[in-house]
């Protein structure tokens, strides 16, 4: 199953290395990692999309991350009310005939063309994982030359449904 885990970390040198190493060493399968600044100076937020077999593994991911001295907070936010977004850049082959079609396809995705060449266009799209997958599938028949994706980042919604909290049983005080 796919789980989304976030961690806030201190920007110490090597922290990314530490965490990437942890995932490899403990054989946690990682789909994507994103890192970026937060509202607090010196603190970054990392978002991991992991593929795990069971709840026990995701619990280990969370606990092992938490054990790192530079990690402030870890949450498995999969079950919570969250917004996830990813940005993708997709270079698609075009002919004069297909260019208009492609425009029609990407419009409902609110994607934009950010570069145009003689035989290709580059499209930028922002959305959750499924949306981006769906758009790529629609473009595939035209010939995709290259895809660059950022990986997902996530944030909890301002108001949480009640159910989301019940998963967070703490064994600490």
């Amino acid at each position: 199953m796919r789980r989304i885990v976030t961690a806030t970390v201190l920007n110490q040198s090597g922290v990314l290395n530490r965490i990437a190493g942890l995932f490899t060493r403990r054989q946690f399968n990682i789909e994507s990692i994103t890192v970026g600044a937060t509202e607090t100076e010196g603190v970054s937020k990392m978002t991991f999309v992991v593929q795990v077999e069971d709840d026990r593994t995701v619990e280990q991911v969370v606990k092992q991350l938490h054990k790192q001295i530079d990690v402030l907070k870890v949450s498995d936010i999969t079950e919570q009310a969250i917004v996830t977004r990813e940005l993708a850049l997709i270079k698609v082959m075009t002919t004069p005939q297909t260019r208009a079609e492609i425009n029609v396809i990407i419009e409902p995705f609110r994607a934009t063309i950010i570069d145009v060449a003689r035989d290709s266009v580059t499209i930028q799209v922002v959305g959750n994982f499924e949306k981006i997958e769906a758009m790529i599938e629609l473009l595939r028949p035209y010939g995709i030359k290259e895809v660059a994706r950022t990986g997902q980042t996530a944030i909890k919604r301002g108001s949480q449904r009640f159910v989301s909290e019940s998963k967070q049983v703490s064994i600490l005080n």
């Binding site: 201190l10 040198s13 001295i69 402030l72």
Partner: protein, 579 residues
């Protein structure tokens, strides 16, 4: 701050801030060690740490010069294990640092508090493959609890203070500090601040009352309870509380390999060590229990055997300071994240109702009496098991005993009979050959008045025997007992059992003359070939105040039993002999 530190009190933010006089990083390094009350360190000099050693020359802290960095760190581990204080290590960059790697990994696995300082090439050339440069931070990241590279001289006091705190609190572990050479020569003022600012590191000591209540309920219902006591009991200094708890509840106790000594071996409710070479009674109790209370053990695979068959009918309660160990290998019904002592104190304060387990106690008692450890009587050479009883008797069961890894280690664990905490030093998680002798040196330095016996394998001893030089120099009364079976005994045992006696590279027909070797260092040496001889020599030499090496010719084909084959469960022991 220490008394003789060259500092002036500064009432800046709060009273705990002290500003030093201008000094270089190396002198500051010594001040930081004094600030942590470091009494001794284990190390080896080299180019990148010349400034640090120069500062040490001018302003001494006791320094033990091992003959190899690996031995220095194993000595620090032995010191930490028996003293409860952090072991401090100092080595140069590159090869000095890489020679430490085995010891760092060993300390990480067995949760030993170490603070390790390595020299590094100057900041300006880091990353250029400079002479004796190694990426020690990268290399040790996965085998340290935390590591630091000092980037500015002023950071040194904070980093050292944090390192000692992290190494010694929560689940202890090794912390490494890499000091580039130019940092050691930079002049400046630094501030010592007592307060720690580690928002990401807040170990939880006190148990959650809800979980403790759950344990109370489980205990009241249990018919077949058992306690598994690990090294966490020793680290938390919880043995008295454990004894009291067991006294009140009358629950049988199993120790892990590393937990030995946390509960008295001669206690009627003690079932022995569990796991791969555990006793019949211990493993059977773990297998049949309906309530398993794990206190400070990490359910290592050598203890559990095949997890699919581990404690299949038990409600599992697990008390551990490290939340990541709870539920890692064994699904846990009652997770208690806490220091073992705090948890037991809380439990004792609540006056739990003792479980109704008379029948169970009789059953485990019967298992214990009817299936004791045993050894073959015939064959040439000393019985390794009887030899361990001799060592026990001669030392009144009161020695600090260290081992290498292999058959002799298991016989020591099975037969010495540890009744008190902090008597037992062995490499459990990493299983490091060559650990026994140098760790005995560290233990002897921590406890100068104790008898310290290094039980070494004939092969393992040869991995770190250069430390005879250190023992001779310091006249340390370490007692080296070599279990000489002319073999990598444990490897040989596996080959006999699982590889149809194809003894691939496990027999060493030509051993050095260990007595002459000792003699070369001016250390007394003896060869003994019978139990009578062994006892006589040991009575003469194990309790006096000088080092000795005793080469004991044990039965070369003796096996460690019982044994659980890989992939099997605790109920599938081989080599059990009902009496």
């Amino acid at each position: 701050m220490s008394q003789n530190a060259k500092t002036t009190e500064l009432k800046v933010k709060n009273e705990a801030v002290t500003r030093t006089e201008p000094m270089n990083g190396a002198d500051l390094f010594i001040e930081t060690l004094k600030n942590e009350n470091v009494e001794v360190m284990f190390g080896y000099p080299g180019g990148a740490v010349l400034p640090l050693y120069d500062a040490l020359y001018k302003n001494p802290i006791r320094h033990i010069l091992a003959r190899h960095e690996q031995a220095a760190i194993h000595a620090a581990e032995g010191y930490a294990r028996v003293s409860g204080k952090p072991g401090v290590v100092l080595a140069t960059s590159g090869p000095g640092a890489t020679n430490l790697v085995t010891g760092i990994a060993d300390a990480m696995m067995d949760s030993l508090p170490l603070v390790i300082f390595t020299g590094q090439v100057a900041t300006g050339v880091i990353g250029s493959d400079a002479f004796q440069e190694a990426d020690v931070i990268g290399i040790t990241m996965p085998i340290t609890k935390h590591n630091y590279q000092v980037r500015s001289m002023e950071d040194l006091p904070r980093i050292v203070h944090e390192a000692f705190h992290i190494a010694t609190t929560g689940r202890p572990g090794p912390v490494l500090i890499d000091i580039p050479k130019d940092i050691a020569t930079t002049m400046g003022n630094a501030e010592f601040v007592d307060e720690l600012n580690l928002p990401g590191y807040q170990p939880n000591f006190k148990p959650n009352s809800l979980q403790v209540k759950k344990l109370r309920g489980a205990l009241a219902k249990a018919k077949k309870p058992v306690i598994l006591a690990g090294a966490g009991v020793l680290f938390a200094k919880a043995s008295e509380e454990l004894l009291e708890f067991v006294g009140k509840m009358q629950i049988p106790v199993v120790n892990t390999l590393l937990g030995l000594g946390g509960f008295p071996a001669d206690h009627p409710l003690f079932l022995g060590m569990g796991g791969m070479h555990g006793t019949y009674a211990a493993n059977t109790a773990l297998y049949e229990a309906d309530l398993l209370i794990n206190i400070g053990a990490r359910f290592d695979d050598r203890l559990t055997g095949n997890l699919a068959h581990f404690a299949p009918n038990a409600t599992v309660a697990h008390i551990d300071i490290d939340p990541a160990e709870i539920g890692k290998n064994v699904p846990t019904h009652i997770p208690i994240v806490a220091d073992a002592r705090e948890a037991l104190k809380k439990i004792l304060s609540l006056d739990f109702e003792a479980p109704q387990a008379d029948e169970w106690r009789q059953k485990v008692q019967k298992d214990k009496e009817e299936n004791p450890l045993w050894n073959t009587e015939d064959g040439e050479g000393i019985s390794p098991q009887s030899l361990m009883r001799i060592i026990h008797n001669v030392t009144n069961g009161d020695a600090v005993v260290t081992t290498d890894v292999g058959q002799h280690q298991m016989w020591t664990a099975q037969y010495y009979g540890f009744n008190k905490p902090d008597q037992w030093v062995t490499s459990g998680g990493l299983g490091t050959m060559g650990f026994g002798f140098p760790s005995a040196i560290g233990a002897q330095i921590a406890k100068p008045d104790k008898t310290v016996v290094a039980v070494a394998g004939d092969a393992g001893f040869q991995m770190t025997l250069q430390e005879l030089g250190l023992v001779a120099e310091l006249k340390l009364p370490v007692k080296i007992v070599i279990y000489n079976n002319q073999a990598l005994g444990m490897v040989r045992q596996w080959q006999e059992t699982f590889y149809e006696e194809r003894y691939s590279q496990s027999l060493i027909p030509v051993q050095p003359d260990f007595v002459k070797l000792a003699d070369a260092y001016g250390i007394r040496g003896y060869v003994v070939t019978t139990e009578e001889e062994a006892e006589k020599v040991m009575r003469e030499t194990l309790t006096d105040n000088e080092p000795v090496l005793i080469d004991c010719r044990i039965k070369s084909k003796e096996m460690v039993y019982p044994m659980i084959a890989p992939g099997k469960g605790l109920h599938e022991m081989i080599g059990v002999k009902p009496q």
